[in-house]
Amino acid sequence: MDFIIAKYNYWIYIILMMIGFYAMIVKNNLAKKVVGMNIFQTALILLFISTGVKTGGATVPIVIGDAHGHAIPGTLHAIDYINPLPHVLMLTAIVVMVATFGVALALLIMIFKRYKTIEEDEILEIRRKEAFT
């Protein structure tokens, strides 16, 4: 039982990640593949964030200090604050997620202008016909 409580958050993220992975490798529609990639990235972000949690009264990584918000020397202990490092890394990862989503949608628009469809098998069919003629 302790094992399940200690690990079930990873299992939920892995299930979410596999939903995205399934959409990426099986779905025929390129837009669905892009959405699958987004789900995959979201699962990774959740996985990283969950490694920063500390039980036992730890709070958000902003110093609780004097009236100006600055720390009183000697009162900062690592056990009182959750790990700020995953938050920093994932803050930048979210922005990269938005950027890759934008570029992927731009590529999709160009593919649709060229082939008039975004179904993968129809695009392959058109390309095969073009190669013969």
Binding site: V95, G102, L105, A106, I109
Partner: protein
Amino acid sequence: MIRRHEDIIIESLARFLTPFIQAFALYVLFLGHYSPGGGFQGGVLMGASFILLVIAYDIIEGKRRITEKFNIVLNATGVMVFSGTGLLCLILGGEFLDYSQLAAILPVGPEEARGLGILAVEIGVEITVAAIMVSIFLDLASAGEHEEALK
């Protein structure tokens, strides 16, 4: 291809809300030292305020407020503010992005200079993120044709 609907409620509400969203974006940017926030979050809010105007009106009205050339200049300005801060530290004798060297030209100690260097960098991030959000949205929403999509 967002067409104008001439709906007075939506248009005046969007015009009323935009300055508040922009003020909140600046609040999030400058309070990033003391509360959750920073350049990325403030930049997305700043971009969202402009995207709200484009959705409520149309692309022509949006491009009347920020022209495409100005937006491209803003894109590059943010990256230049960021790397320019790093270069300034290099010129002042430290390493790249070592903000404590800024104490030589600012009337504060090295610790406060590092805090101010963080603020300068966050402003650069905010400008770039806001301009890029608007630029990606305008390109994707009209499939790259901007106001020609309305004709």
